[in-house]
């Protein structure tokens, strides 16, 4: 049974055209994360929500925004995608925000920017 679902799996957008990626979870976890992963690189945390509390990483560009309308759903909005934003975007959840908590990842959305 899918626990963390990401839609779409593949997204193509044009340079500067806003795009929204979706993540949903059936685990009822408090924390939802968004990571950016470029080819052969480590996943890089963009931000996370602890319940409704939004936590942005210091080096996340303003071009990236997020919304969490309820426990189950979280969205990543890229306001004006540039060529450098082409990457795999991974959503993850964890029960709490402790380093001992396992993070459960979705399959990712591969974003292509033309």
């Amino acid at each position: 049974d899918a626990m963390v679902i990401q839609n779409p799996r593949y997204q193509v957008t044009q340079f500067g055209k806003p795009v929204t990626l979706s993540c949903s979870q059936t685990l009822n976890h408090n924390v939802m994360y968004w990571y950016q992963q470029k080819s052969s690189q480590a996943p890089k945390l963009l931000f996370h929500y602890y319940d409704k509390d939004f936590n942005n990483e210091a080096d996340t560009p303003d071009n990236f925004q997020s919304r969490r309308p309820n426990t189950s759903f979280c969205f990543l909005d890229i306001r004006s995608p540039g060529l450098g934003d082409a990457a795999m975007y991974l959503c993850a959840t964890s029960r709490e925000r402790h380093g001992t908590d396992t993070q459960y990842f979705g399959p990712g959305t591969r974003l292509t920017v033309l």
Binding site: Q6, P43, G99, T100, G108
Partner: protein, 114 residues
């Protein structure tokens, strides 16, 4: 700055052989986790080792942690073609506003040939 660094970056072995991957990190940690990522997919949690533990086993996986050297190793015994994937270590940020967040290394790409 990146916390974990895995080596080797890529490893190619024959089925049945053991695979050893290493991870080094820079600052004190509470625990260290290993994750696996199949090509184009999300990450899957494999094992967590706490800072007061030296070794942990899970099936064909064996993880060691040497906090004095700030390093960890992941050993996969009797490898199978299905073990082909990238393997990432992840450490938790021990203090500050990012406490509980995971910082991933660049990963080791393992290829197991049948």
């Amino acid at each position: 700055s990146q916390q974990g660094e895995e080596d080797p970056q890529a490893l190619s072995i024959q089925e049945g052989e053991n695979a050893t991957m290493n991870c080094s990190y820079k600052t004190s940690i509470n625990n260290l986790q290993w994750y696996r990522q199949n090509s184009g997919r999300g990450l899957v949690h494999l094992i967590l080792i706490r800072s007061n533990e030296r070794e942990k086993h899970s099936g064909r996986l064996r993880v060691t942690l040497d906090t004095s050297k700030k390093s960890s190793s992941l050993l996969i015994t009797a490898s199978r073609a299905a073990d082909t994937a990238s393997y990432f270590c992840a450490t938790d940020a021990r203090s500050g506003g990012s406490q509980g967040n995971l910082i991933f290394g660049k990963g080791t790409k393992l290829s197991v040939k049948p």
